[in-house]
Symmetry: C3
Subunit: 312 residues, 3 copies
């Protein structure tokens, strides 16, 4: 029984195994896949909602014949309000003989607690509060690998809300295990990347730069990873003006300076008010964010497959 709790549990070798499996399953015919794990059972147990994560896991599982049981809003409908601990919940799901529980929690560390209480069921962390979202980091890495054939020697530019964006933090940590990458972090100072991430990069002797100069950073980028400004969660003292929004947008002018081989990623959802990736450039072939979303299903299928085959 393997759990997936943190992106950091995967070294370059195990990442490679996951990506090979992803590629292999993606190229199988549906009819070949649909009987692959007949009889296995997966539960999505979400204390905080996330349609995208939930349905990509469910589609991935169903594509291999896994039975899927959904609890999309455990906070509201479950025993939680009666004061049950996550350990007790996990023990019950374990004794229902669920093979895998994909769990999203509001509290950092809760999926690890669930894993500790399970002796049969594998727990997959589908996002634990401000903690980790390991499968997002894996699908991001897979998207890069799929385009560049590797995860090293790349110029990677991150932009948007780097302070709070969990995906940027996780992907940076994961890529820090690979050699020869250079990072640029583009944002206003108030939303710059956290000190913990910078320390991590320092430990690995990885070059990075913090800047507000978007165009210069983009001009030699391989990977451009952009995120929402999360204006629905205001930070006291930080005003996100119209000017900032426009300054930190990926628009036609940004695409102009970007190399032809670069790719633009975004974890989605894109904010329709800000258009941080301008809809006007959606058809530029370098925009990969929807392929990236599609990869989410494929990578999650590989993870489910490897857990059920006891290879993870």
């Amino acid at each position: 029984m393997g759990h997936i709790l943190s992106a950091e549990q995967f070294d370059p070798n195990s990442l490679n195994d996951i990506f090979e499996r992803t590629y292999e399953l993606a190229n199988l015919d549906r009819r070949e896949l649909i009987d692959r794990h007949i009889g296995s059972q997966l539960i999505t147990f979400f204390y905080a909602s996330s349609t995208r994560t939930r349905i990509s896991f469910e589609l991935a599982a169903r594509s291999m014949g896994v039975g899927v049981t959904s609890v999309p809003d455990a906070e509201d409908t479950s025993s939680v309000f009666k004061g049950e601990t996550i350990e007790d919940t996990a023990r019950v799901l374990n004794n229902y003989e669920a093979d895998i529980v994909v769990m999203r929690t509001k509290v950092e560390g809760d999926t690890a607690k669930a894993a500790a209480a399970s002796d049969y069921t594998s727990i997959i962390n589908g996002g634990d509060g401000s903690g980790e979202h390991p499968t997002q980091a894996l699908l991001d890495a897979y998207t890069i690998q799929d385009e560049f054939g590797g995860l090293d020697g790349l110029n990677i530019v991150f932009g948007g809300d780097l302070r709070r964006g969990r995906t940027v933090r996780s992907l940076t940590k994961l890529l820090a295990n690979f050699g020869g990458n250079q990072f640029k972090f583009v944002s206003i100072p108030e939303l710059q990347i956290g000190q913990d991430i910078k320390n991590r990069l320092d430990e690995h002797d990885i070059e990075y730069e913090e800047t507000t100069d978007k165009l210069s950073a983009l001009s030699d980028a391989d990977v451009v990873y952009w995120t929402r400004l999360q204006s629905e969660r205001p930070i006291p003292g930080v005003e996100i003006t119209e000017e900032i929004i426009n300054q930190f947008k990926i628009d036609a002018a940004a695409m102009e300076v970007m190399p032809h081989e670069a790719i633009v990623m975004h974890p989605l959802p894109r904010d329709s008010k800000h258009n941080e990736i301008d809809t006007a450039i959606d058809h530029d072939p370098r925009i990969k964010m929807f392929d990236q979303a599609g990869n989410g299903k494929l990578v999650r299928a590989a993870l489910i497959d490897m857990i059920l085959s006891e290879e993870l």
Copy 2:
């Protein structure tokens, strides 16, 4: 990839194909059906709730082996609150390689936008605000066809809230394509059928009459299609009195004057406070509203089948 966006996309020939398929599938053994579309995936993505529509689609899909993933309350749990456009949502579901997304939206035209953004996934409009609900119109038409062997030469009496009842509007439009039908609209003037529908009937040279005289209208009816008064959504200046409720009820007296071969339809739910179809007459064999509901599953199965077989 075919979309189902409007009842008006179906001419008499294509309707006939759908009804033949419905009949054919309804007569297959469950065991014959259950492998029919193994490996296909359908998502119900509902921004506005509708248990009946959702579960009839889900049961129909599952009866043919289609994997079903549910998002019953996209408004609350999805990325919507973060300001994602329907086009972005559709692109993601498309890249998850869902074969069909049944979508209910609060905004008219949104399912058409989703369809325009999908190049793999078929979109089925499960109701788009005050716009269309095409599969309801199809199941209504199927119910009539199943009883009378055709959709022409019928006296059709509509009653209840004709102004806002989306089902009456859609069915009227669909039946306007067939010859020799006569329509009677029974309601108080404030809830009468809209001018746009009357214009449509005029264009097709179809006879119709607006009246408050329920019993006279019913006396030579073939099809009686009744609807809720929607008193939970009051119209300023329109008072729905107890007297009006009783006057516009289908009760024992109404059944008395109705021909023996007539059928009574209702899109359900019936309002238990108003009892617009009196529960006292539920066992009259002319009351077909629960068969009509059952037909919903059958017609939806045929539509799913035809889309997945690339016949639609």
Copy 3:
């Protein structure tokens, strides 16, 4: 078509059939089970939420190849708010040809009404307000049978909120049909077992005792069945003090006086604030509450199996 509406519909013989089937299915290989009821359809239709009951039914059904359609919050999303009666809802589900609807309602007697309106679909009561929760009583009884090889001649100690705990009431009624059992009810007088249950025990000439002396009651117990104090639903005039909570806990001292062969049951969820079964003793082998939860899935699988095989 058999319905499961009340624990009292099962006599010792039919209980035995259910337990034999449970045991038999639990020992089948997953691959043998997964085709058992291919093509059958079950709906969970819950007007009041209950994650545990819902997912154990769904997992049980899916393990035998039954298609499962979920309505976890019918109150909010269904036609209910438009004033549909439970009978109309049941007729629609019946005409969708659902084989089984597991229904949880807020109102006592509503599942029986649904059953009366169904001529094809079997209704399983998944809890009807303050009424019954028959499958909980069956899984409780199965757990005891599984440990002691029978349901007679046992010393059974109930504790906690005996006044309102539906599970205690149902299990007591069910066990009253078996000979030679002795009951002890341990609680403060304000939360003691109801007069109706005591009358029932008197009718069957069954010995019982009400007491506040926990340790003495536990000292010769076979089965210890403990429940939450439901402090989230205060009773006017009844104060649940810290002292009461501690006095009525199953803790190390309680385990000390309990026989080695005794078992401790709890319907879950356990209240993490009260810890009525102290987490410190979770690893005592006599604590069977998580096995009991697991049995819920197994017993429900047997019930679904017997209904679909027309043996119930």
